[in-house]
């Protein structure tokens, strides 16, 4: 498998045509993985014909099915959106199209992004390409499985509490959650608006940087997007100098011992390159999951209120309009989404808001402050991306608390709005496992540069490459 820039060279030398690459990719769509909800072959074949010099010319890209592509159904893996075809594209989609990128299809997810395994989909679970009995992670599991199995060179996901980084870790890929506001959310179907960020899942840091350079930047349609200048994220040749990386002790508790050793191997490899490490402490880490749950559920309860069967999607007629809304929503949503809407409505109710939502908002500020403070001592934080490798399909579907466990590593970056990247740390048995780097706001380039450095020096790199190629 080649990088985006290598494909670009091959296209230039006419060693391969974009159509060849597309057909090869489409062939690799494996129905047993169930990575896609909608395959967009026709749109892709049309896209290949477009005459463009864009940086993504002819690159097959998979899109999580909660990001709108005009004219293609957006399902969010939910029955409630049955038949909904968006009349507009997300800003990221328009930017990719302008750069010549083409779309292989819309990938599977946990309904509306609510899950860590891509099992809670109306369209059935997605499987881990490394082991079909294991989950690919979630909620961007379809996007991870698509890239890991070779049907797309790179993909877009969304990350509200770790939904890009955790599947990247389970599938041996690089998953970036940019700073909140770095990438426009316009056209991303909202789950937890103050946490959601479109992210990228790719095979290597450079590919992720290439795509980030295309999609990042201010968008007047998203008032929360940042006007800060973007950087040349695709240029990762130089490793940041004079940097210090923190090891937060709380992130290494209650994790798989093998995960611990893999991440320590990464640390050693980086240390050899002359980068220093420092133990640090983030005492609020234990509050991340409850805080994340309260805020994301509260926002979700409001964001999902629009699915009422009145204007689009599933409608089940009832006795009056309130009954119609009740019936449509009852049949439209799966149990986990209902559970979160109920809890989210409760934590915002006048009787509970002070104790739950407002308290969570306060703790969120403390967590953010703690990250700000630690970044005065160190430039990056190194942690495991997930506490364990991919877990078996069906293991946690009835246990929402255990399902949330992986979020402990990742959701802090969402609460604080800071960038974080997950990248391969090696294998445990036949399953890949990732490390995570968390950075200062808008330091995506620094994060990707370190991942790039690890790719060059880490001893297991070839093994993962081989597994992906196979």
């Amino acid at each position: 498998m080649k990088t985006i820039l290598e494909y670009r060279e091959q296209f230039k030398k006419e060693e391969i045509t974009p159509l060849d690459l597309l057909e090869k990719s489409l062939e690799k769509i494996d129905p047993s993985l169930n990575a896609y909800i909608t395959v967009t072959e026709e749109l892709a074949r049309k896209g290949v014909k477009k005459n463009t010099k864009g940086i993504l010319k002819g690159i097959p890209i998979a899109i999580k099915d909660n990001i709108n592509i005009k004219g293609i159904p957006t399902t969010c893996a939910s029955n409630v959106l049955k038949g909904f075809i968006p009349p507009f594209s997300a800003t990221v989609i328009e930017r990719i199209q302008r750069s010549g990128g083409i779309f292989t299809g819309k990938t599977n997810l946990d309904e509306f992004g609510m899950g860590s395994s891509t099992e809670r989909s109306y369209y059935g679970p997605t499987k881990n390409p490394y082991d079909l009995t294991k989950v690919p992670g979630g909620s961007s599991g379809g996007s991870a499985a698509a890239v890991a199995s070779g049907s797309a060179v790179i993909s877009l996901g969304s990350d509200t509490g770790g939904s890009v980084r955790q599947p990247a870790s389970y599938c041996g890929l690089v998953g970036l959650k940019p700073t909140y506001g770095r990438v426009s959310r316009y056209g991303l179907v909202a789950f937890g608006s103050s946490l959601d960020q479109i992210g990228i899942i790719g095979r290597n840091a450079e590919d992720v940087g290439v795509l980030l350079e295309v999609i990042a930047g201010y968008d007047p349609k998203d008032s929360t997007s940042s006007k800060k200048e973007i950087e040349d994220y695709s240029n990762l040749r130089e490793t940041p100098k004079n940097i210090k990386i923190g090891i937060p002790e709380e992130y290494f508790k209650q994790i798989d011992t093998e995960v611990h050793s893999r991440v320590m191997e990464i640390k050693k490899a980086i240390e050899k390159e002359g980068i220093s490490f420092k133990p640090v402490s983030l005492p609020t880490t234990g509050y991340i999951i409850p805080t994340y749950q309260v805020i994301s559920y509260a926002e979700a309860s409001s964001n999902l209120a629009r699915y009422d069967g009145v204007r689009y999607g599933l409608r089940k007629d009832g006795e009056d309009f309130h009954d119609t809304i009740r019936k449509s929503r009852n049949e439209g949503f799966l149990p986990e989404v209902k559970r979160r809407i109920l809890i989210g409505s409760f934590v915002l109710s006048s009787e509970a808001i002070a104790e739950y939502y407002e308290r969570a908002d306060l703790i969120r500020r403390l967590i953010t402050q703690e990250f700000n403070d630690v970044f005065k001592e160190v430039d990056y934080l190194l942690t495991p991306a997930t506490p364990t490798p991919a877990f078996p399909i069906g293991e946690r579907t009835d246990d929402p608390i255990r399902m949330h466990v992986p979020d402990r590593m990742t959701a802090g970056a969402n609460l604080a709005g800071i960038p974080a990247v997950a990248a391969p740390a090696g294998m445990i048995g036949k399953l890949p496992i990732g490390y995570q780097l968390i950075g200062k706001p808008f330091d995506e380039k620094g994060l990707l540069s370190i991942v790039r450095l690890v790719e060059k020096i880490a001893p297991f790199q070839g093994f993962i490459k081989e597994a992906q190629d196979g």
């Binding site: 968006p86 959310r185 316009y186 056209g187 998203d222 929360t224 204007r311 109710s349 808001i353």
Partner: protein
């Protein structure tokens, strides 16, 4: 019967006069085909985000300033969550704990009504209920509104109507809202309670569905009666939403509020806090005029009678012109007469205060007659020419040169020796004859007053 004290507070929703909606670029219009002015944003389709209309913010600030409020440099949008088919997102974007303006007041018939808050919010769509189905028109969805809330400072239905009329006039005068009630651009929801004891408020009810000032007054009168009767029977008034029927002119309890609805307000995560610079507020402040009531009072102080002051102050055109002319030449009474008698009969056309002032000055200085002045005014409106030029072109200038006048009078005397003798012998009615002859001789350009003066001087000498 014990006397009951009435307490009324009013919420007004006014549509801001913008070209586009609050969070998208759809045009704001009235009476167009259903669902023609809609887009993904105001339909609340999955994936859309709001972008705030700057003009709406400007008008909300202006409304706050015109109502003497404190404008907050930081305000926060919130989501008000409830299910209704005409609410496409399942929540309304409004302002809750941190509104754009608070703590204002307006003068209504010499009394102060305190304004609690002014906040920005989006309009919902319009439901049309038919026999076997309901239809929804989303053209109104997302139209910018301000909600203006008073403190419970109103103590009678008449005062409520007076407040509403004053508020409406302010919004129209300042170009904040067209505030046409029939087009739902100005809607009011009074809440009302009666109580025996001073200082203790009764249970309040909220009156909805009011489409005219008449309905406001009648519904409040009906509600006072209903609440008083309830209390007189020894029962308690329940917190409720009250509807009013134009046909029967009666109020009835539409919905008892067992507990207040839980709208689960929380800060709107899709919009950062609204930050307004003091510079911007100051800039907008310069565009806020004096309020009609304040103007009226000022004009009365200048010596105008109540009626004239009210007439001139209630139209922006006349008040601006009046003040513009006053600045140049003073003479408020004289200027008010010109505006009320001559200018308004022309239909309040565009005219420069400078030209208008110059014309009045020429009359006051006796350079042209009053009649000639009216002619100049009409001509100025038609041709936009300067008064001096019109006077020259139409040869309207009065002969005030005493020598020239004396010469003309001498000639008239010489031409009419018999009449002169009769005048000298005391036949006073001939005085008019001579003035007329002089005017004729001068082609109407002489100042009649001056002519009379010289004739009465000369008759003795001759």
């Amino acid at each position: 019967m014990v006397e009951y004290k009435t307490t009324i507070g009013i919420e007004v929703h006014a549509q801001l006069k913008t070209l586009t909606k609050l969070f998208c670029g759809c045009p704001v219009s009235f009476g167009e085909g259903a669902n023609t002015n809609v887009c993904s944003v105001c339909l609340g389709l999955p994936g859309v985000l709001p972008s705030l209309n700057k003009k709406a913010v400007e008008l909300a600030i202006k409304a706050g300033l015109a109502l003497d409020c404190k404008i907050h440099t930081k305000s926060i949008f919130a989501r008000k969550n409830y299910f209704y088919p005409d609410l496409p997102k399942g929540y309304q974007i409004t302002q809750y704990r941190f509104p754009i303006a608070t703590g204002g007041k307006i003068l209504v018939e010499g009394r102060e009504i305190r304004i609690k808050r002014v906040h920005l919010e989006e309009e919902s769509a319009k439901s049309i209920h038919e026999k076997d189905k309901s239809l929804i028109d989303y053209n109104r969805s997302g139209i910018p509104l301000i909600e203006i809330v008073t403190e419970p400072d109103i103590d009678s239905p008449d005062m409520a109507v007076a407040y509403l009329k004053t508020l409406q006039k302010i919004l129209q005068f300042e170009n904040i809202s067209d505030a046409v009630m029939a087009r739902a651009e100005f809607r009011c929801e009074p809440n009302i309670s009666v109580s025996k004891e001073k200082g203790i408020l009764g249970t309040r009810t909220e009156v909805k569905n009011l489409n005219s000032f008449k309905a406001v007054k009648k519904s409040l009168l009906s509600e006072i009666r209903r609440q008083t009767e309830t209390l007189e029977k020894g029962k308690t008034v329940e917190q409720a939403t009250i509807h009013y029927s134009e046909e029967t002119q009666k109020t009835w309890v539409a919905r008892i509020k067992e507990e207040s609805s839980d709208y689960r307000y929380f800060p709107e995560p899709d919009l950062p806090p609204l930050l307004i610079s003091q510079t911007w507020i100051d800039e907008i402040k310069t565009t806020v005029g004096e309020l009609p009531v304040q103007k009226k009072e000022k004009y009365v102080e200048l010596g105008l009678n109540e009626k004239d002051a009210k007439t001139i102050s209630s139209s922006t055109t006349t008040s601006r012109l009046f003040e513009g002319i006053l600045k140049i030449i003073g003479e408020p009474i004289e200027v008010s007469k010109w505006i009320l008698r001559d200018y308004r009969s022309l239909g309040e056309p565009d005219i420069s205060a400078e030209n208008f002032a110059e014309m009045i000055k020429m009359v006051l200085e006796g350079k042209i007659s009053r009649n000639a002045g009216a002619e100049v005014l009409a001509e100025m409106v038609k041709t936009k020419k300067a008064p001096k030029q019109i006077v020259e072109e139409k040869n309207l200038s009065q002969i005030s040169d005493t020598n020239a006048l004396e010469r003309a009078i001498r000639e008239v005397f010489e031409e009419n020796p018999d009449e002169l003798t009769r005048l000298k012998n005391g036949e006073k009615k001939l005085f008019g004859f001579f003035v007329g002859q002089v005017m004729k001789k001068t082609g109407g350009k002489a100042d009649p007053k001056e002519v009379s003066r010289i004739i009465s001087e000369y008759e003795k000498k001759y």
